[in-house]
Subunit: 327 residues, 2 copies
Amino acid sequence: MINSLDQLGEKEILNRLKKFMAIGQIDDDTAQVNPLGKDILINTDVLVEDVHFSKETTSAEDIGWRAITTNLSDLASSGVDQILGITVGMITPPKTEWSWVEGVYTGIKTALDKFGGQLIGGDCSSGKQKVLAITAIGTVGCIRLHRSHALDGDFLVTTGPHGLSRLGLALLLSDQSIKKKQLSEHLKTQAINAHQRPNPPLEALRALERCKPKGLPWRAAGTDSSDGLLEAVENLCESSNCEAILDLKRLPRAQSWPLGTHWDNWCMNGGEDFELVLSLPPTWANALLKTFPSCQQIGYMRSGPAQVTWDNGKAIQKSNLLKFKHF
Amino acid sequence: MINSLDQLGEKEILNRLKKFMAIGQIDDDTAQVNPLGKDILINTDVLVEDVHFSKETTSAEDIGWRAITTNLSDLASSGVDQILGITVGMITPPKTEWSWVEGVYTGIKTALDKFGGQLIGGDCSSGKQKVLAITAIGTVGCIRLHRSHALDGDFLVTTGPHGLSRLGLALLLSDQSIKKKQLSEHLKTQAINAHQRPNPPLEALRALERCKPKGLPWRAAGTDSSDGLLEAVENLCESSNCEAILDLKRLPRAQSWPLGTHWDNWCMNGGEDFELVLSLPPTWANALLKTFPSCQQIGYMRSGPAQVTWDNGKAIQKSNLLKFKHF
């Protein structure tokens, strides 16, 4: 039985991928989409085996799902309206089994069916290591979020708890550092799910749009926490040239999340949480906190140097923190 | 002196890449472009070291240039009007020198300055092998070329000579098969240039648009010859369900291109020639042949099985041909 990609050949691989593609886009050199007269948002992410995912912790379907979440999360944090389409560049070693490729595309398709958008094109090649390069495009919605739009007096809000994905990874790897820790079954399930099947913050974005108080302009700063919550806040500070004051008592911890430096670090720097991190006027922030239950205020913005400080005045000790890095 | 990417770190890498990016697009999670109310074309290509390029034959700048050409060639063969922007996903081993990355982006920028479009975003990561994943988007022009639009009676036309890039590669590798062959200096220079600095067929597309006879509808079939001339014609046949008859005497050879099976094979299957391969009404084809000197009619289309046949009735012996493959 023929199972590996080098046995199948490029033509047969492309033929088998057709069932995942939007009709009409499988036969040409390019895909065509209609942005309905609107500006478009575009985002490209690369995911590399043993850097962004490993077969120990992530099935092929989960990899496909997470690739879409990563990408749509970036679009959401810029204020996307409709997801128009996704292209997938896939690189695999020649001996890769077809079942792995099919799994990834099944995950992609399942995520797109849930979050919107179609698979409209792509490219494939052999290579030494598995790689996914995903580009998503969508139309601009009613608020265009920028990192640089934070202002003095804004509340800092995030749309959900942080650290869950990092805990999920630790659980899947049977990490020694958590072996002795008593964790609730609910937290464990939630954490593994957050790692394997994270959702892009599209519902949170819709809530943000719906709850804007009348009279306020469509101005808010935003990014996502895919590289960690602290990194997200730092990016807002740097782009907006503002100082962020974080409230130590208001770290966005999940229910029954343990206390302690180790757990605070995972909350702040775990990465891959895919929540919105927003800087917006207090009235709008309060409206969002009321309407979207998982939202939490984590601090506020003020004029000052582009840095993040605890509300007790202490500087954040970066050297103690686990930064989320790809180099 | 710090030179390798793992010494620089991700933040410094991104900082250094800013000079290559369009203003205003460097600071957010996504890029935004305005398609001026038009539909858009989108294309993704992956280029992998030792599959699509090797350091023996291609400098970093040439890799960047060729990546753009590959991509814009696909957009051209679908009928692009304005190139809106390019995103670049780059994967490199951690020990890669910064000078290599800078070289690739310099090549990308030089090509975009020549052909249109801006670098608007991307992503980078470490990995075992160098990879470029390029996505280009552009607006749809006055003719939307499809592979499936060929009709019985069309002329088959290509916009330039074929095999040059393959010869250029052989020259750069000091390939034994051509060692004893006397080749003109002009042909050698042209071939190496075609391999290292190929142009996407945007001028040919503009000529095609300009010379359409009045009264004819905007209907033509098209693709590019990036995977070889024969593969391009086969793709038109399969998508349009037509038979292509190729004229043996009219192979699109460059000036002073040698005769013989080996050279015919390179012309037909060399790959990476980045010319348009068009199927269009005879009057439009003749107008194009007059207005665009490097154009050549290579055959015609007729009702029949989806296959390519020589005009003497002989089937094309595929087993003798070098197919251009990535698996």
